[in-house]
Each structure stands twice: as structure tokens, then as C-alpha cells.
């Protein structure tokens, strides 16, 4: 086992699954890069270089550069999936779902049900999300609450390399349509031990990032890392924080979340998606119904404000939920 970053883990998962199953292919804008140019064909490997080298190994038939036509990319992937292929399509930024939500919302997600159980649509859409890199309002959103709300889609949001690899392999082998979300501020954070070979992590199993007894924090993606730092800090002053990372929002490991809150009696959900109708509210509602009797204090949700993401570093830093927000919420809950 070696230490790997999320960037490496994702590239590895794709390579392993393409080698394992000839039906798997990748498509998207510049997933190879360089078609129709005067330089090399394998020029890029996506804007972040994650799919670099796949062209050489698997050829142009299975590493498919496309025009800038996201509806055609996703719709083509859906059509390919339902006819027997296993596409991994790349939607560069999840914000672009504005131009291409239909193939997921109204096609892939609904086929199996609408068609009376007869369709299989084994599709993965990889997409970047999240704030923190000064990419401004149209390239920084966290939209998994929308994907989560659509019956028929599965939705995955890994927070570390080990999870990223196992969940992506699961996503590719899964027979339902999956949206796989990659936080752009996490690709190159210090890595974790990650096996070289293929392995899967089942969907709907939360990761207990940290065990604790006083308060439960539910967090995903970048927020897991902020929560971990805060928990470490608070441990010193005797507050025992449990951190649950659901890893997949749909299916959701409701049991783990409920168990944790039943133990701690307190919940803060820290989430980067929406300030309204977001993932935080989904978890809060779950607990306010099904673990109400265990609750010793109000449920706090920490989200960005109900505003677009600002560009200026000074503003984006203020916009993004941070350790102080979490400390404040935990304190309020503990002191209730």
C-alpha cells in the first residue's frame, strides 16, 4: 500500500476498471485533449490531468474527446449505458448541470421505473464541485442536494483517497446511474494509504471518521477535514466529538447517523451545499423525526449563506463555512 492523493486514486480507479471491463469507456471535454490540434493527441487528460495516459493505454475508442456539448455528452452516455456500455462521462464542473440536467433528471434516473423495471443504465458522471479556489459563482457551487433529491440517481461524495478509489470502482460496477462528485480543493491534500489493487466500498455505508460521545457532526467532502481539525482541538478542552461522513448521500446510511445521535444526543450538520433545501436540512429532518427522543439540544445546520459564491479571496473565505462556525455551533449546542 502506498500513500495516494485523491487525484491519483481516481485516475487509478478509472484505469483498473477500464482494464477489467472492455465495456467501460470515458468521455468528455478534453478527457484526452488535443484532437484536431497541431500538437500531441494525449495533450491533457482533462483540465486537471486526471485521465492522463488513459488514451495511450485504451485508445481513442474508449477515451473519447467531445465537442463542448454537455447535453449530448450526458445524453450520449445515457444512451450508451442503456444499450449495453458502461460509460464514465465527465461533466467538468457540476455547475454546468444547468445546461444538461435532462439526461440525468428525466432520462437515466427514470428509465428503470418508467419502463417497468426493464432498463439498466450503468452510468457514472464524474464532476467537480465546491468552493475555495477562487473560481467564482459559476464554477464553485455544491449541487449534490439536487442530485440527491432525484429518485433513481445515486450520489457519491468522497472525502479522501481511499474512499474515492473504492467508491469510484463501486460506481463503475454499479448498475444504476451514479453522480460522482469530486471536491476541487481536495484533489491534492496529503494522501492516505490506498491499496494498489481494485476494491469497492459499498454505497450507503457511512464512515465514522472519529468516535466521540458528546456530539455528532455529519459532514462530507471538504467539511470533513474542517470538522476533524475542530474535533481535535475541542478534545483538548474535553468535548468528545463524533464525526460521521455519509460518503454517499443517496443511498444514505440513516442507521449510522441515527445511532450516533442516539448515543451523543446532539447534532450539528456541516455542509457545503445549499443554505435552503440542502443536504444539511435533509439530515436534520431525518434526526428531528427519528431520533427526536434522544435529542438534548437543537439541531444546528452550518451551511454557506444564501448567496452565490463570491470571487474575491477576502469574500470567498468569509463565505465558506470554517472552523469558527463549527466551534460556535458546537458550543451553542453543548451549552444549551
Amino acid at each position: 500500500m502506498a500513500i495516494k492523493t485523491i487525484r491519483q486514486a481516481i485516475g487509478e480507479a478509472l484505469r483498473l476498471e477500464m482494464a477489467r471491463d472492455e465495456h467501460v469507456f470515458i468521455m468528455g471535454e478534453d478527457v484526452a485533449g488535443g484532437r484536431g490540434g497541431t500538437g500531441v493527441l494525449d495533450a491533457a487528460g482533462g483540465v486537471l490531468g486526471i485521465t492522463k495516459d488513459l488514451l495511450e493505454e485504451f485508445g481513442e475508442d474508449r477515451v473519447i474527446d467531445t465537442p463542448i456539448s454537455e447535453t449530448a455528452i450526458l445524453g450520449c452516455a445515457v444512451g450508451a449505458a442503456v444499450s449495453g456500455s458502461r460509460p464514465v462521462a465527465e461533466l467538468m464542473f457540476n455547475d454546468f448541470m444547468g445546461v444538461c440536467f435532462d439526461p440525468l433528471l428525466n432520462q437515466a434516473a427514470k428509465f428503470r421505473y418508467m419502463f417497468g423495471g426493464k432498463a439498466e443504465t450503468p452510468l457514472v458522471v464524474r464532476t467537480m464541485y465546491g468552493a475555495g479556489i477562487r473560481a467564482a459563482a459559476q464554477h464553485s457551487q455544491t449541487l449534490y442536494h439536487m442530485f440527491t433529491s432525484v429518485p433513481g440517481l445515486k450520489c457519491v461524495c468522497p472525502s479522501n483517497a481511499y474512499d474515492a478509489k473504492g467508491l469510484l470502482i463501486q460506481a463503475i460496477r454499479d448498475n444504476d446511474p451514479v453522480v460522482f462528485l469530486e471536491h476541487k480543493a481536495l484533489y491534492d491534500i496529503p494522501g492516505v494509504e490506498t491499496p494498489d489493487e481494485a476494491y469497492t466500498i459499498p454505497f450507503g455505508e457511512a464512515n465514522f471518521v472519529r468516535d466521540g460521545t458528546d456530539i455528532t457532526i455529519v459532514a462530507m467532502g471538504l467539511m470533513v477535514h474542517i470538522a476533524s481539525g475542530v474535533a481535535e482541538e475541542l478534545a483538548k478542552s474535553g468535548v468528545s466529538v463524533e464525526i460521521v461522513d455519509p460518503r454517499t448521500t443517496s443511498p444514505l446510511d440513516t442507521d449510522s447517523i441515527l445511532e450516533s445521535v442516539e448515543k451523543t444526543g446532539r447534532l450539528v450538520v456541516m455542509d457545503e451545499s445549499a443554505a435552503r433545501c440542502g443536504f444539511a436540512h435533509d439530515i436534520a429532518a431525518l434526526v428531528a423525526d427519528r431520533a427526536f427522543g434522544s435529542l438534548k439540544a437543537p439541531i444546528k445546520t452550518i451551511t454557506p449563506p444564501h448567496t452565490p459564491v463570491p470571487f474575491s479571496p477576502a469574500l470567498e473565505d468569509a463565505w465558506l463555512p470554517g472552523p469558527e462556525d463549527l466551534v460556535k455551533a458546537i458550543t451553542a449546542v453543548m451549552e444549551y
Binding site: 465495456h23 469507456f25 475508442d61 474508449r62 473519447i64 467531445t66 465537442p67 456539448s69 447535453t71 449530448a72 455528452i73 450526458l74 445524453g75 450520449c76 452516455a77 445515457v78 444512451g79 450508451a80 449505458a81 442503456v82 444499450s83 449495453g84 456500455s85 460509460p87 435532462d102 439526461p103 428525466n106 432520462q107 428509465f111 428503470r112 421505473y113 418508467m114 419502463f115 417497468g116 423495471g117 426493464k118 432498463a119 439498466e120 429518485p151 433513481g152 445515486k154 454499479d174 448498475n175 444504476d176 454505497f203 450507503g204 443511498p251
Partner: protein, 325 residues
């Protein structure tokens, strides 16, 4: 491709297909007045020759992506008529277990990717099926049916462009019936020329009379052959008329009385077909009448069985959202 001397069996098949579509939909039209059919119904009566003509060149390995007006496509592609009728009545045993209804009839086993409630959605889906065919290195094709209205959807344009860029084995059949809902094609298509616009995308596209089985089958056959030969995406703009309104219940104020009446007389693919085969002495009228009788029985049975079938049990609501969850 020259269809003028098709074997008799194929002529009879073509007629049977068109007649089955006609009868199926005329009957839905009548049954609908009883209030026993729920939801939106879009009938393709008048456009049967396009479905029959195109599908006469396809196997079950070939895929089609259909539209909201999809009954004819499904029947021509080989879907079970009785299961379709049950589906339209929302009954158990329907082709989609009653979950889809008229607008979502799909039949993946027959290579039918589904009717679609989202106008134009079939464009991207079809090129995906074409991509599968290409990756398999088969000579299967995908055929995409689109209305004149659908031809203005962004996703359709993207699919047209991408199919050329990626060299995908797909045929675009533009069924120009003159209207998208209530709006004329000559208004909604800025250039007033769907085929010409497709050609601008790099897709050779011909214009043909879609009310004549022989002309449309001929054009579609040529296009499909070219695609199978690896010559890249092809198109056909087939002109036809829908005899009924956009949906059942449409008062059609946007059409002149003359138009509504004349199309039934001048542009009926069944009448045209009978005239053609009679002219060349290729079929006996009696053979066609026999098919009419067979089809009438089939549709009678289909309606009776659909009416007699149970509604699905409510616990089906929670089933078949995911394969595993």
C-alpha cells in the same frame, strides 16, 4: 436502393404494420372518449408510413429513439400490441407495468429506447446507442425520430454535431408533420428547411414524401445502408400530416378546416399504398382486406384484454427505482 420490386411478403408486412398502427390508434381515439384512458395521448395517425418504412430496414439489434408520439414506432419495431394497449390503460401486464403510459412506452428487447416526454431528448440518446454499436464494432445503427418542433431543441443540434465529430452510426429521421403543438414548422424553423439545416451540420439529408411507404422506405433504406457502410450520420426529412390534433382533445384552431379534411383524402398512406400495389398488380386487394380483418381482431382483443386486466397493485409504487439501493 430500389423498392419497386420488393418481395410480396415484405409488402404484406409493410401494410400490416401500417394498418396495425392505424387501427391501434383509431381505437385509442374512440376508447378515449369513454374516459377510461388517463393522461396525455398523442396519435400518429397519418404518419404510419414513416414508422413502417424506416423500420423495414432495421433488426432488433438496431436501436431507435422515439418521441412523445411513439405508438407507431414501437409497433413497427416489433413491440407487443397487447402489452402496449395494457400500458396505455395503465394496467398490470402493460409493456412497462403501467408505470410509463402512452408517453413512455419502451421496449429495450426490441431495441426501442422509449417514447419520450421531453421533446428532443431522443437525439442524445440515439447517438449513445450508436456509440455502443461503434464500440462493439458491429454494423448496427441507431435511428432517431424527431418532429419538426423537436428539431429546434438544443440537445438535438448538439447530438447532430457530435455524431458527425465522432463518426457515429446514426440516422436522423425528421418527421415534419407541419406543426409542433399548434405552431407551424415554417415559423419555428427559422430557415424553413430542416434538411438544409441538418446538411449544414455535415449530415447529408434528403427530403421525401412521408405519406408514401415506397418513397420513405427507399430514402430511409439508402440512409441506413450508408450508415452501415461507415459513411457517417445521415438524415431524412419526411413530410406527412397528423390526422388528429396534437393531443387528444386539441380543437385545432390553428389549422384550417380545409387542411384537416384534405389530408385524410390526399395523404393517407394506406390509401396510397393500396393504389400503388394495385397499379403494379403486385398484391391482390383481397390479401390486403384479409390483413385488415386480422388487424381488427387483434386490436379488438387487445382492447378487451386491456380492459379486463387488473390495475397494478399499489405496492408496485416502491419497486424498480434502483437495481440495488
Amino acid at each position: 436502393m430500389n423498392l419497386s420490386n420488393l418481395p410480396k411478403e415484405r409488402l404484406l408486412d409493410a401494410y400490416r404494420t401500417m394498418k396495425t398502427i392505424r387501427e391501434f390508434e383509431e381505437r385509442i381515439h374512440t376508447e378515449n372518449t369513454t374516459g377510461d384512458i388517463a393522461g396525455f395521448l398523442h396519435l400518429s395517425v397519418g404518419q404510419e408510413a414513416i414508422a413502417a418504412g424506416v423500420m423495414s430496414h432495421l433488426t432488433t439489434q438496431d436501436y431507435i429513439a422515439s418521441t412523445h408520439r411513439g405508438h407507431g414506432h414501437a409497433i413497427a419495431k416489433g413491440s407487443d400490441v397487447k402489452a402496449m394497449m395494457k400500458e396505455i390503460f395503465g394496467k398490470a401486464g402493460g409493456l412497462c407495468g403501467g408505470k410509463g403510459g402512452s408517453m413512455h412506452i419502451a421496449d429495450l428487447e426490441q431495441g426501442m429506447l422509449g417514447a419520450n416526454g421531453i421533446v428532443g431528448a431522443g437525439g442524445p440518446l440515439a447517438i449513445g446507442a450508436a456509440l455502443t454499436a461503434k464500440l462493439k464494432k458491429s454494423d448496427d445503427v441507431a435511428v432517431c425520430f424527431l418532429g419538426d418542433g423537436a428539431s429546434n431543441q438544443g440537445g438535438v443540434f448538439e447530438a447532430m454535431n457530435m455524431s458527425v465529430a465522432l463518426g457515429l452510426p446514426v440516422v436522423f429521421i425528421f418527421e415534419n408533420n407541419g406543426y409542433g403543438e399548434f405552431t407551424g414548422a415554417d415559423f419555428s424553423v427559422g430557415s424553413k428547411d430542416i434538411a438544409g439545416r441538418a446538411a449544414g451540420f455535415g449530415i447529408p439529408t434528403v427530403k421525401v414524401d412521408g405519406t408514401n411507404f415506397f418513397t420513405i422506405a427507399d430514402a430511409a433504406g439508402t440512409a441506413i445502408d450508408r450508415v452501415r457502410q461507415g459513411l457517417g450520420p445521415q438524415g431524412v426529412e419526411a413530410f406527412a400530416f397528423r390526422f388528429y390534433g396534437h393531443f387528444e382533445g386539441d380543437p385545432q384552431a390553428y389549422r384550417s378546416k380545409d387542411e384537416i379534411e384534405n389530408v385524410r383524402v390526399d395523404s393517407d398512406c394506406l390509401i396510397n399504398f393500396r393504389a400503388s400495389v394495385a397499379e403494379g398488380n403486385r398484391l391482390e386487394i383481397g390479401e390486403l382486406d384479409a390483413i385488415d380483418a386480422e388487424v381488427a381482431i387483434l386490436i379488438d382483443e387487445a382492447v378487451a384484454e386491456a380492459r379486463a386486466a387488473d390495475f397494478p397493485s399499489p405496492d408496485a409504487v416502491l419497486k424498480d427505482v434502483y437495481i440495488s439501493y
